[in-house]
């Protein structure tokens, strides 16, 4: 296990007063707040900051950490000596359930052994719910899938210690799943206390960005490039979807930016969503003498001024 230097993570000296620790944490919490931060690893940093602050903001934990960590460097291999915490009284025991899963093994090893778990949601015996995001491909909504996910979950062992388990679960992703839905796996959250029931695992569904397709609830959005003559004269064009190719009729006179709705061909839920095609007319380049000639013929023989309406 690697030793974690919480002082280094918050950027404060080892003898920094509590007020300074708080100030440093707040400054960094603002910088790395996952909802607003532009930093690439904001979420990971925020978890590290929360962990560091959970220790350094609590006088008892900080004192224990200071005693134990003397002489260690960040990243150095670390094993706490047995009964190292014997001389300390911890008023707030254990790790708060919902956050414990985000903390490191180092934290769990040190502070997970402090007797009974935190009161609160787990006090009546029911295990904590675990809420995680699951990132799926849009294709999964068409075909259904089985995904393997790994989760870190706190558990109370036989000695009353909180240990972090990594659990791997195979989860069935049903066809027709949509962004924002929650897959509830009953009894797969944190274990209960005593005879208490285990909590549920809640997986919040999100789709990875797709290079062509976007989902809007049940509907599927797609930009469809068409040639000028397809738009002007109408045409039947193939559209590639995750479950195959669909032939779509472009009505004559379609303009760039207009939207075609194909009923029932969106995400195949019950009822199925619609497929929304945004028409984008793409001009062929005038890159050959023949192409130039065709454009010149159109310019000469078609009375057309695209700015006529806008200059009125």
């Amino acid at each position: 296990m690697e030793f974690k230097d919480y002082y280094h993570e918050l950027g404060v000296a080892r003898d920094a007063p509590a007020e300074e620790v708080k100030k440093a944490y707040r400054k960094l919490a603002r910088k790395y707040h996952p909802d607003v931060s532009k930093e690439p690893d904001a979420e990971k940093r925020m978890k590290e900051l929360n962990e560091a602050y959970a220790v350094l903001s609590d006088p008892e934990k900080r004192a224990a950490y200071d005693q134990l960590g003397r002489g260690y460097r960040p990243g150095q291999d670390f094993r706490p000596p047995p009964d190292w915490d014997a001389g300390f009284e911890f008023s707030e025991r254990g790790v708060p359930g919902a956050e414990a899963a985000d903390f490191s093994d180092f934290f769990a090893e040190l502070f997970g052994r402090m007797g009974e778990p935190a009161r609160g949601p787990a006090a009546h015996g029911r295990g904590g719910y675990h809420h995680a995001k699951i990132l799926l491909d849009l294709e999964d909504a068409y075909t259904g899938a089985t995904r393997q996910i790994s989760l870190r979950m706190p558990r109370i062992d036989a000695n009353g210690r909180v240990v972090l388990d990594t659990r791997t679960l195979n989860v069935k992703i049903p066809r027709g799943i949509r962004e924002g839905q929650i897959i509830r796996l009953a009894g797969q959250g944190a274990a209960g206390l005593g005879k208490g029931k285990a909590g549920d695992l809640l997986l919040e569904v999100h789709f990875k960005p797709h290079d062509r397709l976007r989902a809007d609830g049940r509907d599927l959005l797609l930009t469809l490039p068409v040639a000028p003559w397809e738009a002007a004269l109408g045409a039947v064009v193939p559209v590639n979807l995750p479950d195959g190719t669909l032939k779509v009729r472009i009505p004559a006179g379609a303009q760039s930016g207009s939207e075609l709705r194909v009923r029932g061909r969106g995400i195949p839920s019950d009822p199925p969503g619609d497929l929304l095609l945004e028409i984008r007319v793409v001009l062929p380049p005038a890159s050959t003498p023949k192409a130039c000639e065709l454009y010149e013929t159109m310019a000469r023989e078609m009375p057309f001024d695209p700015r006529r309406d806008s200059e009125a």
């Binding site: 919490a29 679960l169 897959i183 997986l203």
Partner: protein, 102 residues
């Protein structure tokens, strides 16, 4: 559990969580939520606490409000205001994504 077991979950949508479940999912005391609902800082449907139902937006709202209150010693009203703005931002970002602009 053996590795080849495939778990089949229930798909939840809309206001599907009870007060107890919201608290279990966000590591909150029920009292904390009740106080904020009574002060109008936490929107909910249903009149008595036993009838309250929460959706997934409420799950992230509860977590955000708790973190803002705790991390910045913010009063609940300020945490609710920040949560309102973050929710608005989520909505705008979702619209950008739908328009293919993000």
């Amino acid at each position: 559990m053996s590795d080849d077991v495939i778990l089949i979950g229930r798909i939840e949508e809309g206001a599907c969580f009870t007060l107890e479940e919201l608290c279990a999912a966000c590591a909150l005391e029920q009292e904390w939520v009740i106080r904020r609902v009574e002060e109008g800082l936490f929107p909910v449907s249903g009149s008595a606490a036993a009838e309250w139902r929460f959706n997934r937006v409420a799950l992230s709202r509860a977590r955000r409000m708790r973190e803002i209150e705790r991390d910045f010693d913010a009063v609940p009203e300020l945490a609710a205001l920040v949560a309102d703005m973050l929710e608005e931002m989520d909505e705008l970002r979702a619209r950008l994504r739908r328009a293919g602009l993000a």
